[in-house]
């Protein structure tokens, strides 16, 4: 299972990490990397961030339980920092949303358009969900990326 640490003033945070990814080739220590996410742009300091880390386009944003990791993190400021450890080298992409009213879902209007903040790695996409090839990045060493909520 991948390990994760987070820096947040919210001591009551709930963290769920699903180590569903396990490559048979990713055993050497030098291929294990740390990924730090800095999530910025919270307009409200309440609620929960739901975040998923993916390594395959076919699962990206599908909510099919086949992400590398899922994180729930309560918010207490305007920035959130999440660090993943022991990730294998490869292509990854992140999607997340801010459940500001803690109803455990991304609020949407009648046509499915979100009213709560969301975001993707690379701040990908102009409108609506980003595609994996736009949101993905290469992890070959320890890395920090910034994601701005939209």
């Amino acid at each position: 299972m991948k390990s994760l640490s987070k820096t947040s003033t919210a001591l009551t945070s709930i963290i769920t990490l699903l180590g569903l990814y396990c490559s048979p080739f990713a055993t050497a220590e030098q291929n294990q990397h740390q990924l730090t996410l800095l999530i910025k742009g919270y307009e409200e300091s309440t609620g929960t961030t739901y975040l998923s880390l993916y390594d395959k386009a076919e699962h990206f944003n599908k909510m099919d339980g086949k992400s590398v990791a899922n994180v729930q993190q309560r918010i207490s400021g305007d920035t959130l920092r999440i660090t993943f450890h022991d990730l294998n080298s490869g292509q990854y992409a992140v999607s997340l949303y801010h459940d500001a009213n803690n109803n455990r879902e991304l609020d949407r209007n009648m046509l499915g358009i979100p009213s709560e903040p969301y975001g993707f790695s690379n701040d990908a996409g102009a409108f609506g969900p980003a595609k994996f090839n736009k949101a993905s990045f290469t992890l070959e060493a320890d890395k920090t990326i910034v994601i701005n909520l939209r």
Binding site: N109, Y118, D123, A124, N148, R150
Partner: protein, 485 residues
Amino acid sequence: MPNRRQFIQQIGAASALGLGAKAGLGLASTHSDKAFHQVPKQFPRTRLRVDGKWPSDLVGNLYRNSPAMLERNGFQHSHLFDGDGMIQRFTLEGGQVFHQAQMVATHKYLAEEDAGRFLYRGLGSSPPNPRPSRNNDTANPANISVRKMGNKLFALWEAGSAYEIDPDTLATYGRVDWNDDLKHLPFSAHPLRDENGDWWNIGSWIYGGQARTIIYQLDAKANLKRVKAIPMQQAGYMHAFALSPRFVILVNTANIYRAGENYFDSFHYDSKGKSEIVLVDKNDLSVFKTIDIPANFVFHFGNAFELGDELCFSMAEYKNADIMNQGLGLGPQSAFAKDATQYNSELNLYRINLKSGQWRKEHSQLSLEFPNIKESQAFSAQAIIGMGRPVAPGAKADQDYLLSYHPLTGEQEHYDFGENITIEEPLYVRGGNDQEYVLHTLADRDKQQTGLALFKAGELAAGPVATAWANEQFPFGFHGCFVGA
């Protein structure tokens, strides 16, 4: 300096909007035209210079919305639809005319004020490194119209929510959510009032190649009564609609959406395709009939009325969508205009037999944009007023004039202020003694001054009964409303 081609295209763009030739010239050549450049974020209340006698029974406020802020931090939007909205108010009281104006404090405007630059893509042009949008309201400039519904004043865009405005201070109360399910959905700039006082509006939603038109019905106090999203057969551009006693009348134009860099870049006019007249039954919001017509493009409609089995409505009809995709552009990407008539529309009357579905079109051979009618007689055949444009090829660009045309009788009258004066959207307004007037803003392009002109309805040719002039040029605008005291 722009070349001749750029001059001409900008003349055409400006003229099509009623901005006159010299607005385009000023924008292109000097960058000093105060109608577009270095527009203040607010205009304090000032008194205009009055000429003639403003009738004492006509008291109230003319509100207009202007895409005023087109430039920030060295970047200038190249499409008029992308300027942030400014609400202008002309107050008529005691024979005097006063003006004041204020930017609409949208989410977009406030975020960009904070950042000191444009952050988001516009409909027709985009700043460098634009941020992604969460939903339709992220980049909502609330810049097309301002309408009063119930006791509330709303600044309206077409692709996102309404913003409520304080009618006295012009301060922005905030975004309007008709309910949680309708947050951030398109709400057009052209709501129409029904005979019983209800308000109807549409929102055109296109995403992922699928198009839906949202039909809104609000009560007289602007509370939501009903809403329905109706799938469209093609993803055509729709700006406004017409309303008859029985139907919401949509014209799903042949300007078809295929995702591109900007919203307007994504529309491609299919001249070999079709437009659709979609009649939505007001009783149950079902589609009563869809009628294919040859490809056309339209922003604005005259009124609709029913004569027996015949449904009649007028629209300012274009032969293509150049007016939207290029004509309203202000930069060198605009299309080449051979003459001022390139972007003209024609006010045509469509007559549909509701039993047979057969239809015919009666041409006015008049170019009339910004059509308006007497709202008190919304479902009756009546004279439509608007900004007239010459139709003869080669006509000068600055020959716009005030025009009235009756689509059934063909009666028409006009008044031309002359070459240096450009006019904006005229409205029918009613005085306290039930006298109908026609009121509109205008601009003296040589003097760089904005004015207001008042005519007696039905007596346009006699000229204005009163005018009022500011000592400065205010931003040009699109649409507005008059709210009597």
